[in-house]
Subunit: 304 residues, 2 copies
């Protein structure tokens, strides 16, 4: 559908608060999709919003969140989940009564609760499952969301017009849009994203504490590098994400600990058949995940 | 150094027992380096050695291990570590008294002990830290070892001539050659390779057992795919490797369990500062590993 006939055609001003990798890539993707309205950006670090302006990612680098959202039809919050409530409170007085507010965070239940408390049905939570270990607007790219999925988490409170707009936003950015309740999203992402990040950080923490870590470095191959890639993610952001999804993540960690201990016990017992059977089940599960992606023609090189 | 002036120039026949990904890639790499002697291949599965012959990876598909090693100056064992002792016993009677015997396995102490018991100082353990999740000779490639490291594990028993030959073999294949005792290799690889494989298998085992694993698949991104890539490795081979390096691996697993539990406890306590500090240490450790590799101009996309 051409963008001019699109629900986004009525949007004259978009405010992106937190113009980093995700917010910046969304702005670029909308431009590429033909969005011709204004995009205002705000970042807590002035240098970052000025860089966004210099790179042509936004049309305007606002000095304050209020300045960015003034007159905006659509407000996209691209800050870490833990920083959302304060930012929402800050913009609420200047945010127009018709403006739709959405976010891009990796955790949904806590953010949606805060968003609905502040904006009612005009707040719609969203999470594009895309990213990479580099962050900041300099890493933004228009194609980041292509072949990716974006989860939108409406509730009974959601305003249908707001939901349509947020759906259209992510479709325009190139995503396949999925919908599910916030808690269902958080439970799933705890397993598919938050747990792997924690596991990769833990391996590298063990590595850091190893008495011969320098020599170990020379004995790593591509498997190690791929496994540990997500441990190069932003530490503060991921500590925030982990805590914002604490319950579901702790539940996933507990099951993981049991699974790993079962492998360890099979190793102690020298039970090669049991180990090989478990590894084979694991391999089949991974191959099935890959198949899901290739069937739907998605194969992003980025992480979520 | 041109290969004709090289220590390998005196080698007229090489036998590769187990012409899979690694053995096959070694044969191709030697050809590319200018080795002009004969390469005989044997695989337990006849189809595999016939495919190696058809692909031009070997000059000769031997019907038995004894036929392959007859008259060979250099014998390369490319079978899983647990299968080594039986294969060594099988070839010992026909293996010429001057032939140097080496292997390519991911575990060294157990294999070197078996090799020296059978061949004395003529056996030299080796482990090229390269690979990929695909296996079999069809996946072999001449460039697999370029920009990779190969660990050679001589002992006090090693014959200097045999050591020189194995060093020359891996240098010709394109590797940077490192030397260390077998136990030092095994302790390091437990952390850098065997543990990550176990962790990735455990995540996918948890995934397989999840009541909504199909829906989870749709909520995975590139981070998940990279983290879990090594869980697509050969399950039987990795169960064997894990058991052959059981003590060092169990030690690494124990430290990992403690590290993960420390993160889990910080999560329970809501200690965001401690989590962020640990994640930051982890990120620095990973960035340091990458730097080690880029300094030495190695950057293989493959795993070890």
């Amino acid at each position: 559908m051409p963008l001019e006939e699109h629900v986004l055609a009525g949007v004259e001003r978009i405010a992106v608060l937190g113009v980093g990798l995700i917010g910046g890539s969304l702005a670029l993707a909308l431009r590429r999709a033909g969005y011709s309205g204004r995009i205002a950006g705000y970042s807590r670090r002035t240098a970052e919003s000025e860089r966004a302006l210099a790179l042509g990612v936004v049309d305007e680098a606002a000095a304050t969140p209020a300045e960015a959202v003034a007159g905006a039809d659509l407000v996209v919050l691209g800050v870490p989940p833990g920083a959302m409530p304060a930012l929402m409170a800050q913009i609420a007085p200047t945010c127009a009564g018709q403006a739709v507010v959405t976010d891009v965070g990796s955790v949904k239940a806590a953010v949606v609760a805060a968003g609905e408390a502040q904006f009612g049905g005009r707040f719609i939570g969203a999470h594009p499952i895309a990213g990479k270990e580099r962050h900041g607007v300099a890493a933004a790219e228009a194609g980041l969301f292509r072949h990716s999925r974006c989860v939108i988490t409406p509730t009974a409170t959601s305003d249908p017009r707001a939901l349509d707009l947020v759906r259209a936003l992510w479709a325009a950015a190139g995503c396949e849009v999925l919908e599910m309740p916030p808690a269902v999203h958080d439970e799933a992402l705890a397993v598919t994203s938050h747990l792997p990040h924690l596991l990769a950080f833990a391996l590298m923490e063990q590595f850091a504490a190893h008495p011969r870590s320098k020599e170990l470095s020379r004995l790593t191959g591509g498997g190690f590098r791929d496994f540990s890639r997500i441990a190069s993610s932003d530490p503060a952001l991921w500590a925030d994400i982990a805590l914002q999804n604490r319950e579901a993540l702790l539940q996933a960690v507990q099951i993981y600990q049991q699974t790993l201990e079962r492998f360890a016990e099979q190793l102690r017992q020298g039970d090669q058949a049991a180990l090989a059977a478990g590894f084979a089940r694991a391999k089949r599960a991974r191959d099935a995940v890959l198949a899901t992606h290739s069937c739907s023609k998605t194969g992003s090189k980025h992480d979520g």
